[in-house]
C-alpha cells in the first residue's frame, strides 16, 4: 500500500478494484493504526473490528466475482456516534445511551454500505452534539493531532481528529451550528455542511430538528465531495428530505472559479482579533481571485445576533427532542419510587452538565410567559439573518468568512464559561440558521503551527459552487501536503 495511511479514498478504491491490495488488508492496516493511536487521541468510542473486516471481505468477494464495485469500495470510514448503526453501539457520547444498540441503520449508513465503504467505527463527540470542543463527551476528551493540548473542536471532534490523524480517509459528522465545519478548521481538514434537506437525517439522533444536517469530512475537497455524492439524495423516511436531483460534486471540483463572484464580509474579516486567521482568509481570497473569481463586498448586518438566536432556537428544539430519553424504552433507567421519579432520576444521572444546561435554557425559552420574548423573537431575528444572505446573494455566488475566530483553543480554556464557548461559534451559526450550504477548508497555518479554516457559504442546493471554490482554495493555500505535527 503506497503512502499509507495518507492515501486518498480514490487511491484506496483504485488499488482495491485493480487487485493491487485486498480490502481486508487495507482494513487490517487501518484497524491496527486505530488501535495504536486511539489511546493517545480518544477519537474512537467504538472500533468495530468484526463488522469492518466482514464488510471488507464482502468487497473482496465482489471484486473476485467481477461484480461492479461502488464508489467507496474498500474505503475505511468513521461515523460520528450519533448515527445509528444496526448492531453496533450508538451512544451520542452520553451515559443515557451508553449501552444502546440500534436495531436499524441510518439512511447514510445504508448508502455507505451500498457504496462499498468499510465502517471502521464510531467516533467521539460532544454529548448529543452539544459543544464546540468535544469536552462534553461523557467518555473521554479528544486531542487535536496538531497539538495534543488543544481541542479538536466540536461537536464532531472525533471524526475530525480521526481523519486528520490518518486513522481513516473519510468520516461523517453532523452539523447543527457548525459541528462539522469548526472541528474541520481546528484539525486542518475539509467539511461540508449541506443545505438543510440535502442529506436524509433518518437514523441521526435528533438535536435541533430545524438545523441538523449530516456532513462529510475528509482531508481533501475532492474526497469530501465524493462522500457528499454518496450520502446526498432524497429519502422519504425524513419528511424534510428534499426531493431534488443531486449534482456531480466531484466533477464540480474541476470546474474552477472563473467568473465566480465571491462575497467578502469585510467588517467580519477586518474585525478579527487573530492576525493569523485574518491572513489565512486573505490568502484564500487571493487564491480565488488569482484563478478568476471576482471579489465583491457584502454585509451580514444581523450576523452578530446569531449566537443569541441559535442558542434559543437550538436549545428549545433540543429540550423537546431529548424528552424521549426517559428510561422507559431504551437506554439507562435509574429506578425511583414512582414513574415521575424514575424519569427525573434517569435524566439527572444520564445527562451531563452541558446537556442539562441546554435543556434548561430551551425549556425556559418555551415556557409560559417567555415564549414570545425569547423563542418567537429569536425566530423573527432568524428571518433577518436569512434576508441578509438573500441580499448578499443578489451580488455574489458564495459568501466568504473565517470558519472560527481563532485557531484551536487549549483544552480546558473555555470549559468554565459556557457563554465564552458559545461565542466561538459566531461564524458558523448564521448559515445554519438560514439553512444554507457551507464548506470549511484549510487556508494556512498559524504562527504556532495550528490549522486555519475558511468558510464559504452558498445558496440552497448550490453545494457544487462550494466544491469548485473549495478546490481552488486547497490548490492555492491548503494543507493537503502538511501532516499533523503532534504524531511525529
Amino acid at each position: 500500500m503506497s503512502d499509507f495511511p495518507w492515501q486518498s479514498a480514490f487511491e484506496i478504491r483504485e488499488q482495491v478494484a485493480g487487485g493491487a491490495v485486498s480490502a481486508v488488508d487495507v482494513t487490517r492496516a487501518y484497524l491496527a493504526r486505530a488501535e495504536e493511536l486511539n489511546p493517545t487521541l480518544s477519537c474512537f468510542l467504538t472500533v468495530d473490528h468484526e463488522g469492518a473486516l466482514a464488510a471488507a471481505a464482502q468487497v473482496d468477494r465482489m471484486r473476485d466475482a467481477g461484480e461492479d464495485l461502488g464508489p467507496l469500495a474498500g474505503v475505511p470510514i468513521a461515523l460520528k456516534d450519533n448515527l445509528c448503526t444496526r448492531g453496533v453501539r450508538t451512544t451520542c457520547a452520553s451515559q443515557i445511551l451508553g449501552d444502546y444498540i440500534p436495531p436499524y441503520d441510518a439512511h447514510v449508513v445504508e448508502a455507505l454500505r451500498a457504496s462499498g465503504a468499510v465502517i471502521l467505527g464510531k467516533t467521539n463527540m460532544d454529548e448529543f452534539a452539544m459543544g464546540s470542543s468535544n469536552e462534553n463527551s461523557s467518555f473521554a476528551n479528544v486531542h487535536n493531532p496538531w497539538a495534543l493540548d488543544r481541542a479538536p473542536g466540536g461537536s464532531s471532534g472525533g471524526s475530525a481528529c480521526a481523519t486528520a490523524a490518518g486513522l481513516v480517509p473519510l468520516a461523517l459528522g453532523s452539523d447543527t451550528g457548525g459541528s462539522v465545519r469548526q472541528p474541520a478548521a481546528f484539525c486542518g481538514i475539509t467539511a461540508i455542511k449541506p443545505t438543510y434537506g440535502r442529506v436524509s437525517r433518518y437514523g441521526l439522533v435528533a438535536f435541533a430538528s430545524s438545523l441538523d444536517q449530516i456532513g462529510p469530512m475528509a482531508r481533501s475537497v475532492r474526497e469530501a465531495s465524493q462522500l457528499l455524492q454518496v450520502v446526498a439524495g432524497h429519502d422519504r423516511r425524513d419528511a424534510t428530505s428534499a426531493d431534488r436531483e443531486t449534482n456531480d460534486y466531484v466533477a464540480a471540483c474541476e470546474r474552477g472559479v472563473s467568473g465566480l463572484r465571491v462575497g467578502v464580509v469585510r467588517d467580519l474579516i477586518d474585525g478579527l482579533q487573530d492576525a493569523d486567521v485574518r491572513a489565512g482568509v486573505e490568502a484564500a481570497l487571493s487564491a480565488l481571485e488569482k484563478q478568476g473569481a471576482s471579489l465583491v463586498d457584502v454585509s451580514l448586518p444581523h450576523a452578530k445576533h446569531a449566537v443569541s438566536v441559535y442558542y434559543l432556537i437550538a436549545t428549545a428544539e433540543a429540550s423537546s427532542n431529548l424528552a424521549r430519553f426517559d428510561g422507559i424504552r431504551y437506554g439507562l433507567r435509574v429506578p425511583g419510587e414512582d414513574l415521575t421519579e424514575t424519569y427525573t432520576r434517569t435524566r439527572a444521572q444520564g445527562f451531563g452538565p452541558e446537556v442539562r444546561r441546554r435543556i434548561m435554557l430551551g425549556t425556559y425559552a418555551l415556557s409560559a410567559g417567555y415564549y414570545d420574548a425569547f423563542y418567537l423573537k429569536a425566530q423573527r431575528v432568524r428571518t433577518l439573518i436569512r434576508r441578509d444572505y438573500d441580499t448578499a446573494f443578489e451580488s455574489c455566488d458564495v459568501v466568504c468568512t473565517p470558519t472560527t475566530p481563532t485557531p484551536a483553543f487549549a483544552l480546558g480554556e473555555k470549559t468554565s464559561n459556557p457563554l465564552d464557548m458559545y461565542l466561538a461559534d459566531i461564524f458558523t451559526l448564521p448559515p445554519s440558521l438560514a439553512g444554507l450550504a457551507a464548506i470549511s477548508t484549510p487556508c494556512g497555518l498559524s504562527a504556532s503551527g495550528l490549522p486555519i479554516g475558511v468558510q464559504l457559504v452558498a445558496p440552497p442546493f448550490e453545494e457544487g459552487s462550494l466544491c469548485s471554490a473549495g478546490q481552488v482554495v486547497e490548490d492555492g493555500c491548503g494543507l493537503l501536503e502538511s501532516r499533523p505535527t503532534a504524531l511525529d
Binding site: H305, V309, I328, R347, R357, I359, S367, R380
Partner: protein
Amino acid sequence: MADPKITFEQVLHVAKLARLTLSDDEAREMQEQLDAILGYMEGLDELDVSDVPPTFHSIPMDAPMRPDVPQRCSDRAEILEQAPESESGGFSVPLVLEVE
C-alpha cells in the same frame, strides 16, 4: 445578585418542567450560568422585529404526502431487547395507577 434575569425559584420550576432533578448547589450554579447567557441575549432587544415574520423552516417545503401502504415494522423482540425492563411483549414501567 442585582435583578437577576432568572431567579433561583424559576430555575427549580424549569427543572421540574424538564423532568430534571438539581441539587441546591447545582441549581445555584445553573442560575448563575443561565443568568449570564440570558443577559447576553438581551442584545436582541435592540431590534424591533414586531413586523418581521418568524422563520420556523429555513428552506420552504410542503409537508410531503405518500401513499398509505402497509409495511412490516421492526421486530418487536429486537426493540424490547433495548428496553431497561420488559414484560409480556411490552415495556414495563413503575405502577402508575392503583387498581382495586
